[in-house]
């Protein structure tokens, strides 16, 4: 019997739950998403179509879903976490057979009403399932090899499936997210050291096999890594994205060029200006002040999650909140690092701002879980 179940009676009932939502997090979600609508309006050249309007609709649907998930007690989500994980893995497998190809990889599953990216979904379901696992697992066994192997398998199933699509970037992010949860759960440092070591040797292997029949990565991924290491080597080819993005960012200056005045993004010099590279438009039009504000909002959101997690005495709830916060971090940090020429180009959207149904809905759903954990915490 867990701590939570003992104290169930102290959690709020019915409509009162609304008052117990983490309003700071909710308001930040609204604020960040509003910035997103504004930017999508701007990159479309001052038009709601084709991006801002659908994004707004999805956001409304997503908020409804968030509140719905938040109203359901967290222990329900804990009980179905295994099932959700299983479903997401099935969807991931489904992509391999029925998926739509985009950017040279199979990523989307057309469900009719939404083009779902199951890899986005697994970022959360893996975290949820791992949290449930560690909640169930006796705390003293956490660092025992056999009990470490199980979560590793839980993580590696989606990772290998995503890697197979092939989507190296997302696979790595799922890996990091799972690893982060294991770290939070208190797994011994030695394992992480081991993983980092083996990753390093894996990287060596990846480059060693390049241009041989055994090549692990796809050709474009090798080129992207090359470009990352030396972006100026091919300014019109592979380095083009990073170069253009840095130009747009830098030309924004402190105050920016003003709303809808960003010449670089407005003139299509930027690739994927409405999705992965939307931060460049933002930083060009609103400058350093605008870019920093968005970064601050993201960090504030995480800070409120951390506070919530610290206050939460239930292990599952705390792990879920922190896992979601870290997953959220794993959206914006690599995305910003990428557009600033800091990290290789991996297909990761700027959370709540980039155009895209999957990540928006998945993130709002995840914050629904976070709110559920917050509302149903033990007092």
């Amino acid at each position: 019997m867990s701590y939570l179940e003992q104290n169930i009676k102290r959690t709020p009932y019915g409509i009162v739950k609304f008052l117990h939502l983490n309003w700071a997090v909710l308001i930040l979600i609204f604020a960040i998403s509003s910035v997103g609508f504004l930017m999508l309006y701007s990159v479309a050249g001052g038009s709601l179509a084709p991006w801002a309007e659908p994004q707004l609709k999805r956001f409304v649907a997503g908020i409804c879903m968030l509140l719905f998930i938040a109203m359901i007690p967290i222990w329900f989500w804990k009980n179905v976490s295994g099932l959700i994980y299983f479903i997401s893995i099935m969807l991931l497998i489904g992509v391999d057979f029925f998926g739509t190809t985009g950017m040279g990889a199979q990523r989307w599953l057309d469900l009719g009403f939404i083009r779902l990216q199951p890899s986005e979904l697994t970022k959360i379901t893996t975290v949820l399932f791992l949290a449930a696992y560690y909640d169930w697992l006796d705390i003293t066994k956490v660092s025992k090899p056999i009990w470490v192997l199980i979560p590793v398998i839980i993580i590696l199933i989606p990772v290998s499936l995503i890697f197979n699509q092939p989507d190296l970037g997302t696979a790595l992010l799922v890996l990091c997210g799972g690893g982060g949860l294991m770290l939070l759960a208190g797994v011994h440092w030695g394992y992480f050291l081991g993983i980092i070591m083996s990753l390093a040797s894996g990287a060596v292997a990846i480059f060693y096999t390049r241009d041989t029949g055994l090549a692990i990565l796809r050709d474009y991924q090798y080129r992207r890594i090359d470009t990352f290491l030396n972006p100026s080597s091919d300014p019109m080819g592979a380095g083009y994205h990073i170069g253009q993005s840095k130009i747009a960012l830098g030309s924004g200056g402190v105050n920016g060029r003003g709303f809808m005045q960003g010449t670089q993004s407005q003139l299509n010099f930027l690739p994927e200006k409405h999705t992965d590279f939307i931060f460049t438009t933002l930083a060009e039009e609103f400058g350093f002040i605008g870019g920093l504000s968005v970064l601050a909002m993201y960090n504030l959101l995480i800070l409120f999650c951390i506070v919530s997690a610290l206050k939460n005495k239930d292990r599952f709830s705390s792990l879920v909140i922190m896992g979601i916060a870290f997953t959220f971090f794993l959206y914006f940090a690599p995305n910003m690092a990428m557009v600033m020429g800091f990290a290789p180009i991996v297909g990761v959207p700027l959370p709540l701002i980039s155009y895209g149904g999957s990540s928006m809905l998945v993130l709002l759903g995840a914050f629904g879980l976070m709110q559920s954990a917050h509302v149903h915490r033990v007092r």
């Binding site: 019997m1 701590y3 705390i139 982060g180 770290l183 939070l184 759960a185 208190g186 253009q244 840095k246 130009i247 747009a248 960012l249 830098g250 030309s251 924004g252 200056g253 402190v254 010449t263 670089q264 003139l267 299509n268 010099f269 930027l270 930083a283 400058g287 350093f288 870019g291 920093l292 970064l295 993201y298 960090n299 995480i302 800070l303 951390i306 997690a309 610290l310 005495k313 292990r315 705390s318 792990l319 922190m322 870290f326 971090f329 940090a333 910003m336 690092a337 600033m340 800091f342």
Partner: protein, 655 residues
């Protein structure tokens, strides 16, 4: 229960520690991002802003319209026609082969052309517009426009291209334009270095920009070219134009009116056709050049877009050298037309008086070498008047010995031999007036008395261009230093007509020389009597000349192979004639040189007469002006000439 509680609390502490660690890691990473953002957007901002401007703004030159060239009456000689062309941008095409197939059907070009076009297209960047075909007709252009649905990436465009409506009439005067080449840029760079021009013209950087290659087009290229405008346009990453930021219109080049009279120019060209000849007619009072003929000519329109190999070869292989402007660039021994100069020099030096007679025996012997008069047996006793009328060589051998080369040269220079006229034409020939110094310097030889004798009859080293001969004649007719001019007005502003200074030659001497020239044409014994005019107010004065291309050797003279017709064409004598009309109140001076045409009296004089009559009548001369016996022959020659009204173009724009 209690243990569980403690356990949980204990683990909670450990759990919280991990949260702080992860939170701290995230905070560090976020700070790094903030720092990087600061670096890009604050520290390095100016650098990136510059790069962004380069990314965004393209400056496109707006080529100016080239100035047009008109004749003295405003008839268009060099204009700009609309050049309909079809361009193709590969980037916008999905199925190139299908589009080319459709184009082939619409524009009806050959399969080999299509294959060539395709390889050209594939060689270039897909974003660069490629000219599929230019100089299209309106029908072809509208066919392309109508069929645009099956021709994605293909668009009709209208540009300007040079066009010479009078075709061959002006090939040597106006010249032609062509695509800017390496040479043009090298010349511009040199002029810039030497300070001749204050700035380099960016227009020359435009591929295929048309610049003047020869003639007035070349010499006045900078004035005709105009000034480039520009537009700054915002482009997106694929180079598509988003909007125009600013625009400075180009300034059209200056329009130029030549002094040439198209009607006369056309007549001259037609009259000379079939010969390798040149003729210049000018107004003796204003110096206006009314016609500068040179045959054979070529169609300058063929050169504009790059001339075809076969056309160019046929021009190069023509022994009459069509590319050469013989009137201005040619230099010929003036032959007997030089005799007026010697007469004036002798009269001014006082070595002879008007009525002094010299006995012509047919030759002069100096230091064992015989100098022959053209008439074997001699003219007998001749005075100045008769010497000109009959063109007695002996008389001038004698005169030249009396005055010497220096005085002859001085007089010749006063009249224009060796003078380079300032005309906007390339390679204006200045001719040569030899002297002792010149001989020493140029040839490293001493001047001999024989050279003086040869010079006296316009042979030897003395060389003049047909243009010079016309100017010399104009000076003789007016006793003033007439200077030729080719530009009547510039951008609508008439250039002032110079009032020429007097030559300061004794009017009595001048009168006697002119009387001699009159008799050349109008006296029964005159060398050009058969070319007289039987219309009192249109009578003209002149002088024939026959200049030897090769010296007649002694053996030839003995064998009697001195007949011109027996020699190969290129060794035959040049036929010359200079004259002015009307005799009483001179208005026009003319010179005609028929290369290897035989004698001046039979080949050159009739042409000069026709030109002078055409100038005076302003149209085809009436037969009544000609001597009765010649009328039927001349009538048939004149009607055979295919004259085209000056208002009409000789060549359709879309040939």
């Amino acid at each position: 229960m209690v243990t569980s509680e403690i356990d949980t609390e204990y683990n909670k502490g450990r759990h919280d520690r991990r949260i702080f660690i992860l939170g701290g890691a995230m905070a560090i990473f976020s700070s790094t991002l903030a720092y990087r953002m600061h670096f890009l957007q604050v520290s390095e901002s100016s650098k990136f802003r510059l790069l962004a401007e380069e990314n965004r703004i393209n400056v496109r030159l707006l080529p100016p319209t080239r100035g047009e060239i008109f004749d003295r009456n405003g008839i268009l000689l060099a204009g700009n026609k609309q050049n309909f062309k079809v361009i193709l941008i590969r980037d916008e095409i999905k199925d190139l082969d299908q589009v080319l197939l459709n184009l082939e059907k619409i524009l009806k070009f050959s399969k080999s052309f299509k294959d060539q076009l395709k390889s050209e297209i594939l060689k270039r960047s897909p974003l660069i517009p490629i000219t599929v075909s230019d100089n299209l007709s309106w029908e072809q252009l509208s066919n392309v426009a109508v069929n645009s649905p099956i021709l994605p990436g293909v668009s009709p465009e209208v540009g300007l291209s040079r066009f010479y409506p009078r075709s061959t009439d002006y090939s040597h005067i106006i010249g032609y334009v062509g695509a800017v080449g390496e040479k043009d840029i090298i010349k511009m760079d040199r002029d810039y270095r030497e300070g001749k021009i204050s700035e380099k013209d960016p227009l020359l950087e435009i591929p295929k920009f048309q610049v003047g290659k020869t003639g007035v087009e070349n010499k006045l290229d900078r004035q005709l070219r105009g000034k480039a405008g520009n537009k700054r346009i915002e482009v997106n990453s694929v180079g598509r134009i988003m909007r125009e930021l600013s625009r400075a219109e180009s300034i059209k080049g200056a329009d130029i009116n030549l002094t040439i009279d198209t009607r006369l120019q056309h007549f001259v060209q037609e009259r000379l056709s079939g010969l390798s000849a040149s003729a210049v007619i000018m107004n003796v009072n204003s110096g206006d050049l009314l016609a500068i003929g040179s045959t054979p000519a070529f169609d300058p329109n063929k050169f504009i877009g790059g001339i075809s190999h076969s056309d160019y070869n046929s021009i190069l292989e023509n022994p009459y050298n069509p590319l050469w402007n013989k009137s201005v660039q040619g230099s010929y021994p003036p032959g007997s037309t030089f005799k007026m100069i010697v007469s004036l020099a002798a009269l001014e030096a006082g070595v002879i008086s008007i009525n002094d007679e010299i006995n012509c025996k047919g030759f002069t012997e100096i230091s064992g070498r015989k100098f022959y008069c053209w008439k074997s047996g001699g003219h007998g006793k001749v005075n100045l008047h008769n010497s000109l009328k009959q063109s007695c060589d002996h008389y001038y051998y004698e005169l030249s010995q009396r005055i010497g080369i220096s005085k002859i040269a001085a007089m010749a220079r006063r009249l224009g031999v060796g003078e380079k006229f300032d005309l906007p034409l390339p390679l204006v020939e200045s001719g040569i007036m030899p002297s002792r110094e010149w001989r020493r310097k140029e040839k490293g030889q001493e001047w001999k008395i024989g050279d003086t004798l040869n010079t006296a009859i316009g042979q030897g080293d003395v060389l003049t261009s047909p243009l010079q001969l016309a100017v010399i004649t104009a000076r003789l007719a007016t006793n003033s230093i007439v200077k030729p001019r080719l530009i009547k007005s510039f951008s609508g502003l008439s250039l002032p007509i110079e009032s020429f200074k007097s030559l300061n030659i004794d009017p009595a001497a001048m009168r006697e020389v002119r009387r001699g020239m009159y008799s050349v044409v109008n006296d029964k014994k005159g060398t050009a009597y058969s070319s007289r005019v039987e219309q009192d107010d249109k009578e003209f004065a002149g002088k024939t000349g026959t200049s030897q291309v090769t010296e007649i050797s002694k053996s030839e003279r003995k064998r009697g192979v001195s007949k011109n017709e027996d020699k190969p064409w290129k060794y035959r004598d040049h036929a010359l004639f200079v004259g002015y009309a009307p005799f009483t109140n001179p208005k026009y001076s003319v010179s005609v040189v028929v290369e290897h045409g035989g004698s001046g009296s039979t080949s050159a004089a009739p042409i000069a007469r026709d030109i002078m009559l055409a100038a005076q009548y302003g149209s085809l001369p009436p037969l009544s002006a000609y001597p009765e016996a010649q009328r039927s022959r001349i009538g048939s020659t004149l009607t055979k000439m295919q004259l085209v009204d000056p208002e009409k173009t000789l060549r359709s724009e879309y040939e």
